[in-house]
């Protein structure tokens, strides 16, 4: 893997990582968007969308509530989308490994966000006197430093994760012994289970939600088997 291959992936991961919290939170960092953009980067937008939809099912569980610690999906979904897109014939195991790579990256990404928040607090503490005096430069620079650091965080995270996990995924795919369809069923089944549990947690206290869910499920199943 050359630096020329790595650079655009890392830049995309940086921009989408920035969207998670710092700027502009327009949800271009949601997996369904980020993985698709990752796939598009290597000319495989449909592959990116497939893996993005699976990650989106899982991401339904981890919504960015206030100060809670949550995984970082923007950079991670780019890694997943590019890895799956790199195996355009979708061999057995490719989808599982792409999703696993994204999940591992999102885990580390969540940790890097906590470190960044701690660093932001340290930078703010260094400027405490200036902030208390209402120094315009300190307020603006603190904001810009925080965003630049977040961009750098996303860049490094994506670059390191992709550089490590893409060859590992290729190694595993070459030795994969299972059936392609079975491995796809496994990964989407796990993702849908997480989505089902997440939806229950979010909506079970809403009046009538259980019946509405069952009604929706009946429609969904009918459409599925009518296709």
């Amino acid at each position: 893997m050359s630096a020329l291959q790595l650079l655009p992936v890392a830049i995309l991961g940086a921009v989408l990582g920035l969207d998670v919290v710092s700027f502009p939170q327009a949800m271009i960092s949601r997996p369904v968007v980020a993985a698709t953009l990752g796939g598009t980067l290597i000319g495989e937008s449909s592959s990116g969308l497939l893996v993005g939809a699976i990650l989106e099912l899982i991401a339904l569980e981890t919504l960015p509530f206030g100060a809670s610690r949550y995984p970082e999906w923007g950079s991670a979904a780019v890694v997943g989308g590019v890895i799956f897109g790199s195996h355009a014939a979708h061999p057995a195991g490719a989808m599982t490994l792409a999703v696993l790579a994204a999940l591992a990256t999102t885990w580390v990404g969540g940790w890097t966000m906590v470190q960044l928040r701690t660093l932001n607090a340290r930078w703010a503490a260094k400027r405490r006197d200036a902030l208390e005096a209402g120094a315009r430069g300190s307020v603006v620079s603190l904001q810009l430093i925080g965003m630049t650091a977040d961009l750098a965080r996303g860049f490094l995270l994506t670059a390191i994760a992709y550089a490590l996990l893409a060859p590992l995924a290729a190694f595993c795919i070459a030795r994969w012994s299972g059936d392609a369809r079975l491995s796809r069923s496994m990964v989407v089944g796990v993702a849908a289970s997480v989505a089902g549990g997440a939806a229950w947690k979010l909506f079970h206290s809403t009046n009538g939600a259980r019946w509405l869910f069952l009604g929706g499920l009946a429609v969904g199943l009918f459409m599925l088997f009518a296709q």
């Binding site: 949800m27 999102t106 796990v190 997480v194 599925l224």
Partner: protein, 257 residues
């Protein structure tokens, strides 16, 4: 300073309004565990504070900026209400103690209302609707385009409305949180999302797995059992971590076998 509109609300210059709005998109740029959104609020209000007597070198500007950059917590989109209201209060020359009491009182409601409406409502609804569209076989542009347009229509409308409402009402903005969208919105969105969940999950499964009713039936039963297990285990382990472990084991077995 700001002029007055026909309705009696002082007018904020368009350039200042645009600068505040653009900065609102970066309000969490220096989010940290001590002052949370505090510095971001100061950063967003700063263009309006330049209108204070003496400009950026005046004592009024410095005192106001110091006050507005202290600890603050809110949902990032609904923080627009606070930014508009606080900018108005500072330019109206409200007493600092009153402004500080107002900031403290606003933190809780703006956080909880925004979390319920956006993070637990609008975002999952848009996500599930886009997954349903994906399951129906739509192309990349349709799925991603639908999600981004639908989600951001609500997102940007909320920020624009928040800034406008905050500026119009100033320290009396609390009444705006009684808006029907905030009172009934989360419940209504929750109902729609429940329907969308039922439709999206089987369709998304179908698209990823491909044709074949027997395998699909087995997967659907497994998903129902898996969802139940995740609900039961929710206090012990998060579903995404569990899926990481399960998939890692699956990979190990498939590669070593």
């Amino acid at each position: 300073m700001s002029g007055a509109s026909g309705s009696g609300t002082p007018r904020l210059p368009l350039g200042t309004r645009a600068a505040i709005f653009l900065r609102l998109l970066a309000i969490q740029g220096s989010w940290n565990y001590e002052s949370l959104l505090g510095n971001g609020v100061g950063f967003c209000i700063e263009p309006a504070l330049r209108l204070l007597p003496g400009g950026i070198h005046g004592q009024a500007f410095k005192s106001a900026l110091a006050r507005e950059s202290r600890y603050f917590n809110a949902h990032p989109y609904l923080a627009a209400i606070a930014v508009g209201a606080l900018a108005r209060a500072e330019l109206d020359g409200e007493a600092p103690e009153r402004i500080e009491r107002f900031r403290t009182a606003l933190c809780g409601p703006l956080g909880s209302v925004g979390d319920r409406l956006v993070w637990a409502g609008w975002l999952p609804l848009c996500s599930l609707a886009s997954l349903a569209i994906f399951g129906l076989g739509a192309g990349t542009l349709a799925v991603v385009g639908f999600f981004l347009v639908a989600y951001n229509a609500g997102h940007f409308a909320l920020r624009v409305w928040g800034l406008e409402t905050g500026w119009r009402h100033g320290l009396r903005v609390a009444a705006a949180l009684g808006n029907p969208v905030f009172r009934r919105g989360p419940q209504e969105i929750g109902r729609l999302a429940a329907v969308a969940t039922g439709i999206a999950i089987p369709l998304a499964l179908g698209r990823v797995i491909g044709p074949g009713r027997s395998l699909m039936g087995i997967v659907l039963v497994a998903v129902a059992l898996g969802s139940l297990a995740i609900v039961r285990l929710q206090r012990r382990i998060e579903g995404w971590r569990l899926s990481l472990v399960v998939l890692a084991l699956f990979v190990l077995i498939s590669v070593i076998h």
